[in-house]
């Protein structure tokens, strides 16, 4: 996602922010995971922007996707090369207005951006967990986020907002804590991965595990499986784009040359792009985290977990007002999956708004500055916030 992050062209920013840490589940009170395994202590890296109001009704929880982190907006220090990953949406006067709302985002467990994950030291061995790290689920990520919300004294979430795998966490929040989540904005997401999505994830995982440096996950003191992780990221990037966006962005244009090289160097711009994205990704992401998080996403099946295979039953356990958004060219989380959610919500008489945004940028569209998405989110948040202050006038 990082290739889309740019400085705000109007120089509007939430400013300097700080990554904070919260540790809980110290042994012997470890966190019990869905698999039955125990994990503890658990550290959550998180950031907050804006101010929690006196009646604690303006908290917004942002849930990040596969390679994201707690750094949604702003800068850690003056002169940072890039702001947070959703700086175009989150900030003063922006779609998610930090003048009005108290925004929280935490790094998911299993990741490598400050929260406990496979690269964290295992207190029992004082070595990185590597594959001794237990398999975590979307539900486990949500449980850890709930512990953080308790720690912050937030009993009601005005809106949970998340795209992609963040959307799965959002759905899980809505089922587990219906009394807490006033509203929710699932973006470009699904109740369960399609076979297509699982297939791409599996090829990406295979690329990592086939790298000899991966060494069954034990690479923290030697060369890292950079080639495997880079290929995994390249596969990801193909699925995040679309036929149309690739045609517009690259076409068959050649990279810095007028003719083919007649060898296996980079010829096409699209090759150069993928290699560059792959190489950049390995600088910031842990290969084992990639395995754990994609597995958690593939395992997630809201309908099976909560509705005995029925989406209608699963959503009967939720109570939030929903704004569902999909994008026309997203073939990884296609619109039919969002529509299926909307259908199940309607059958339960839930308050649901839905918009399929015309966008050529594929799955990545939800991260790219988009006036329409901004106005949808802004309008929806204003309504639900107003309705918490006075009786609602919408179903």
């Amino acid at each position: 996602m990082s290739e889309y992050i740019e400085h705000d062209k109007d120089k509007i920013s939430v400013g300097i922010v700080e990554k904070k840490f919260f540790t809980f589940a110290e042994p012997p009170d470890e966190m019990t995971l869905e698999s039955g395994a125990k994990l503890g202590p658990v550290t959550i890296a998180y950031e907050t922007y804006g101010t929690l109001n006196s009646d604690r009704t303006n908290a917004i929880l942002i849930l990040h996707a596969l390679s994201g982190d707690s750094h949604v907006a702003g800068y850690y220090k003056p002169g940072d090369e890039k702001p947070g990953w959703w700086d175009n949406m989150v900030g003063p006067g922006k779609g998610i207005d930090t003048h009005k709302y108290f925004v929280v985002c935490s790094n998911i467990i299993g990741s490598c951006m400050g929260s406990t994950g496979p690269c964290t030291l295992n207190p029992k061995t004082v070595l990185p967990y590597a594959l001794d790290f237990p398999v975590v689920t979307i539900g486990d990520m949500v449980n850890a986020q709930k512990a953080l919300m308790d720690h912050l004294g937030i009993k009601r979430i005005l809106a949970a907002i998340g795209g992609s795998i963040g959307g799965m966490q959002l759905l899980e929040w809505c089922v587990r804590y219906p009394e807490m989540v006033v509203s929710a904005i699932p973006l470009a997401t699904t109740t369960k991965h399609s076979a297509l999505a699982i297939a791409f994830n599996e090829v990406a995982r295979q690329a990592i595990m086939a790298d000899p440096n991966w060494n069954k996950g034990n690479y923290y003191f030697g060369p890292k499986p950079d080639l495997g992780l880079a290929v995994a990221r390249m596969i990801g990037h193909i699925t995040y784009l679309s036929d149309e966006s690739m045609r517009l962005k690259f076409g068959r244009r050649l990279q810095d040359k007028n003719d083919f090289s007649f060898n296996f160097d980079v010829d096409f711009q699209v090759e150069s792009y993928l290699r560059y994205q792959g190489a950049k990704f390995v600088e910031r992401f842990d290969a084992n985290s990639f395995l754990y998080i994609t597995k958690a996403a593939d395992y997630y099946d809201m309908e099976k977990l909560h509705g005995n295979e029925s989406a209608v039953k699963a959503f009967s356990k939720t109570a939030a007002k929903f704004l569902v958004v999909s994008f026309t060219s997203d073939w990884l989380y296609p619109t039919y999956q969002s529509r299926a959610m909307v259908k199940a919500m309607k059958k339960n008489g839930l308050d649901v708004s839905f918009c399929e945004i015309e966008a050529e940028w594929g799955h990545d569209a939800f991260l790219i500055p988009n006036q329409r998405l901004t106005s949808l989110i802004r309008g929806f948040l204003e309504r639900v916030y107003k309705e918490t202050q006075q009786p609602p006038h919408a179903i």
Partner: protein, 200 residues
Amino acid sequence: MRYDLQIIASWIESGARVLDLGCGEGELLRYLIHHRQAYGSGIEHNEAKVAECIGKGLSVLQGDINEEVLDYPDNAFDYVILSQTLQQVYEPAALIRSMLRIGKKGIVSFPNFSHWGIRMQLLFSGFAPVSKQLPHQWYDTPNIRVITIKDFRKFTREIGFKILKEVAIDTHSEDRYGKVIKIFPNLRATYGIFLIGNHV
């Protein structure tokens, strides 16, 4: 607000649950929520209009009205509104049955094709009529049904639902002003508005 929408709004009591099919930019919904304390939501096909509605703080979803009405539970609404859209519906009977399943009452408005101006055009020019209410040529019109006020009354008898109230009006398509037509409505009104319900 459009004159026909003002009449529709006047029929809806305070606090009602309302679904507006083809809600456009949400003009009626917004009025009902603010002035009738209604619980309102809408369905709209056009992405830009849906975005406009949600941006204004309305609960609206994007989709085809014929499909979307199928998903709601029975009697989910007090009123289901279909304003100036019936003439574009491929299966009007199925849609109206759905409206009266998910809503206790339905409100339907449509341009009256037997208005004297239209009759005159056909009689004297011999061309398919084009009016302010139905401004398209025959080859590019979304209005695939020609309906008259008398036709709609006959349709209610044949399909088996009840007219609870009806008003015929003379107004232009986007006009805020108009008047109610009581004498020879089928000849003189540009629009018919009907409140319909199931036979008990």
